[in-house]
């Protein structure tokens, strides 16, 4: 039961100040990247592993991933053009061929125009996203925390967190 509520609990904890705004911003940024990139390739797997492996707020990242997955489908036309331009760049062909010919090369999925385009778009947006998220969380976290503490649901979720910590102890 506790396992099922963990993402919500962590997100509530993040908003209440358990994680720093930088961790939240990094989670959102990685989630944004994961959401934008089509799944079913090693790039998406690597982004997922980074999200779950690095010391970032994965709840914020997952929320961002879901949100940007929905947005990502509308940007396919744009990302396809970006990816096609990059993948057809003559001076990069040697590098692409070398990567593609490596073991697991075709599984990376970088030769797909939308994957490449969305990855580049995600990288391009990563710093603004991080900066904006960090700024927002720094500004909004105290107010949101005060607001959320008034609700019983938040207290229940925090209680679950405390219980979990007590069990771990």
């Amino acid at each position: 039961m506790s396992f099922l509520f963990t993402p919500l609990r962590q997100f509530a904890g993040a908003l209440l100040g358990n994680d720093s705004p930088r961790q939240l911003a990094a989670g959102v940024t990685l989630g944004m990247m994961l959401g934008l990139v089509p799944k079913g390739n090693l790039i998406a797997v690597a982004l997922g592993m980074l999200l779950f492996g690095l010391k970032v707020n994965r709840s914020a990242g997952m929320v961002a991933a879901v949100l940007f997955s929905a947005i990502g489908t509308f940007t396919d036309g744009f990302t396809h053009r970006i990816g096609k331009d990059v993948l057809e760049t003559a001076w990069l062909q040697g590098a692409f061929v070398a990567i593609y010919d490596m073991p697991l090369g075709p599984w990376i999925g970088f030769n797909n125009t939308v994957v490449m385009g969305s990855l580049l778009l995600a990288i391009y947006l990563s710093y603004p996203c991080y900066w904006f998220s960090a700024f927002s969380f720094e500004a909004l976290q105290p107010k949101v925390a005060a607001y959320l503490r008034r609700y019983r649901v938040t207290r229940v979720l925090l209680g679950l967190q405390l219980t979990t910590k007590w069990q771990e102890a």
Binding site: L54, K55, Q93, P103, W107, N111, N112, T113, G117
Partner: protein, 590 residues
């Protein structure tokens, strides 16, 4: 600062290991699901798998109890396999390719019985193995039908009795009935005339006794005599005309007889029977099934391994996969070699087969090598089969070669029992099959040489005259070997078949000349019978007329003389002075 949260990572690594272990089974399940769901789309019937095992770690796949149902027979398998073992190339898997360097198929069987129906639900049903070819409806079938009609026609001619239809016989019968009545009438008229003349003579004599009293009679006598003379002359004229009339009737009968002869010659003429027609008649039904089966297998192979552009592609739905210049493309699925071991039923007996299947791929144009199948039987019946399915070019090309020596052919009946059939004994045969399907163009040659055969002809009752039976038996008794060749042309959808065999010319030589001779004799017999009938009637007619002439001529001659006497000097001066009571000149007494 610690970047990695080991307390967080380690449990997830453990979960990953569990997932890895599950994937071993998951891959097997996925493989089974792929085979059973994609198989029916290719074969047109159910594809069942008993068990699958797949190991990503060892890159090995095993499929147990694979059964491919026959789309034409729901309770029978097209092929079944006990075990398929495939060793996948690990390096190729890392490059997103399924390459089997070596595989083994064990327990391959064809036409085994199924426990459950292999029929697909109506919504999933796809076209059967191949559309039924029209092998039996082409020129060969027409030739067979022609030969069957020829035999039926011969039967009809042999049993034909056209005497009732002869005009000459009918006319001769009519005339034979007419002339006796005519003669009777003439004879009666002659007799009546004679009696009339005799009566007149008597009456004249009586009248001459007393001329005065019979003056009226004597005055009318010359007229009556002349009338009787006229009647006599008429009868004589009719009698004289009789030979001419008889001759005219005879000529009519002869003319009718000539027409009858022409009619019967037309009716009993035998058209030439071509040896190829007879071959088609004897062998089309026997060969139609196997030839159609072969063509259907080719069609099935064409459907299973489609040509360029028809192979199913599972494209990524988002974006486009760029093929970089300089990247060598390999097919996604490639089976380099598979050893085959199994059992096949040939000529009703099971034979162990072994062979290899090489270069099977979903993208043959990338691979550049055609699929090759080599099968060899082991045991007393050596059969070699080689198939090349080439999809490397723009147009697909399928080739099949099969050689079999010592094939046991069971006894069989050729032809149709209602006309003529041949009972061919059990024999051994050498079979060679060479088929080529280049795009849609079909060419093929099938040769079958049967040795040590005994052939017994069976003829329908009407056709089975001792003479024909004897001629066929003698001719076929000399045949010890039958060589049959089937040439296939046309297209896969509309194959054309030409059948030639040594059996046809042998039969044609024996049958045609004998039948022609028998029918010639039949014709001559019918004509002779008709001639005899007409001659009999004509002779009877002639004799009737002759006897009438012999009978009537004297009857007419006598009255003529009598009438001449009546018209003698007495009638010249019917009423002399003496007759009226005056004495003749110089008479002393009155």
């Amino acid at each position: 600062m610690r970047i990695f949260r080991w307390g967080y990572l380690l449990p997830r690594l453990a979960i990953l290991c569990v997932l890895w272990a599950a994937s071993e089974h998951g891959t097997a399940w996925l493989l089974k699901w792929s085979i059973t769901s994609a198989g029916p789309a290719l074969t047109g019937a159910r594809v069942d798998v008993a068990e699958t095992r797949a190991s990503l770690l060892h890159t090995r796949v095993a499929i147990k109890g694979l059964e491919i149902a026959d789309p034409d027979q729901a309770m029978q398998n097209l092929a079944s396999v006990e075990l398929v073992e495939l060793n996948l190339d690990t390096a190729a898997l890392l490059r997103k390719q399924a390459v089997v360097n070596h595989g083994i198929i064990r327990g391959l069987r064809f036409g085994t019985a199924r426990e459950t129906s292999g029929e697909l639900p109506p919504t999933e049903a796809v076209a059967p193995r191949a559309t039924r070819s029209h092998v039996a409806r082409d020129a060969t079938a027409q030739a067979a039908a022609y030969a069957a009609n020829w035999l039926a026609d011969v039967e009809k001619k042999l049993s034909l009795d056209a005497r009732g239809q002869f005009e000459s016989v009918r006319l001769a019968e009519e005339l034979a009935a007419k002339w006796p009545a005519e003669c009777e009438s003439l004879s009666a008229a002659a007799k009546l005339l004679k009696s009339g003349v005799e009566q007149l003579t008597v009456e004249t004599k009586a009248a001459n006794q007393n001329p005065l009293r019979n003056a009226e009679f004597l005055r009318a006598l010359p007229g009556r005599v002349k009338s009787l003379q006229q009647q006599t002359q008429d009868l004589q004229a009719r009698l004289q005309e009789l030979p001419g009339l008889v001759e005219a009737d005879r000529q009519r009968v002869i003319a009718a007889r000539e027409r009858d002869e022409r009619f019967i010659r037309d009716q009993l003429s035998v058209e030439a029977l071509d040896a190829s027609d007879l071959t088609a008649y004897l062998l089309t039904e026997q060969l139609d099934g196997p030839v159609r089966e072969l063509v259907e297998w080719l069609g099935w192979a064409r459907k299973i391994i489609p040509s360029k552009g028809q192979a199913p592609k599972f494209e990524r739905s988002r974006g486009e996969n760029i093929l970089f210049a300089g990247v060598k493309r390999y097919p996604d699925v490639l089976v380099r070699t598979i050893d085959l071991h199994g059992v096949a039923q040939v000529g009703g007996r099971p034979l162990e087969i072994a062979g290899t299947l090489t270069d099977f791929t979903t993208e043959p144009q990338l691979h550049g090598q055609p699929l090759r199948l080599r099968l060899v039987t082991q045991g007393p019946l050596p059969i070699q089969v080689q198939a090349v399915i080439d999809r490397t070019r723009e147009t697909p090309r399928d080739e099949l070669l099969a050689v079999c020596n010592g094939l046991a052919i069971p006894g069989m009946s050729l032809g149709k029992p209602e006309h003529m059939s041949l009972a061919v004994s059990q024999s051994t045969a050498a079979l060679q099959i060479a088929l080529l399907l280049d795009d849609e163009k079909l060419t093929g040659n099938i040769e079958l040489v049967q040795k040590s055969v005994d052939i017994t002809p069976h003829l329908a009752q009407r056709l089975g005259t001792p003479e024909i039976q004897q001629a066929l038996t003698a001719s076929l008794g000399r045949v010890n070997e039958i060589s049959t060749q089937v040439v296939l042309t046309g297209t896969l959808a509309k194959p054309q078949v030409q059948i030639s065999s040594t059996l046809g010319p042998t039969m044609q030589n024996a049958l045609h000349s004998t039948v022609v001779a028998v029918i010639d004799r039949q014709r001559e017999r019918i004509l002779a019978s008709a001639r005899a009938q007409t001659e009999q009637h004509l002779t009877a007619m002639r004799s009737t007329v002759d006897s009438l002439t012999a009978e009537v001529a004297p009857l007419l001659a006598q009255p003529e003389q009598m009438l001449a006497k009546l018209l003698g000097p007495d009638l010249a001066q019917p009423f002399s002075a003496e007759q009226f009571g005056r004495l003749p000149a110089g008479s002393l007494f009155k």
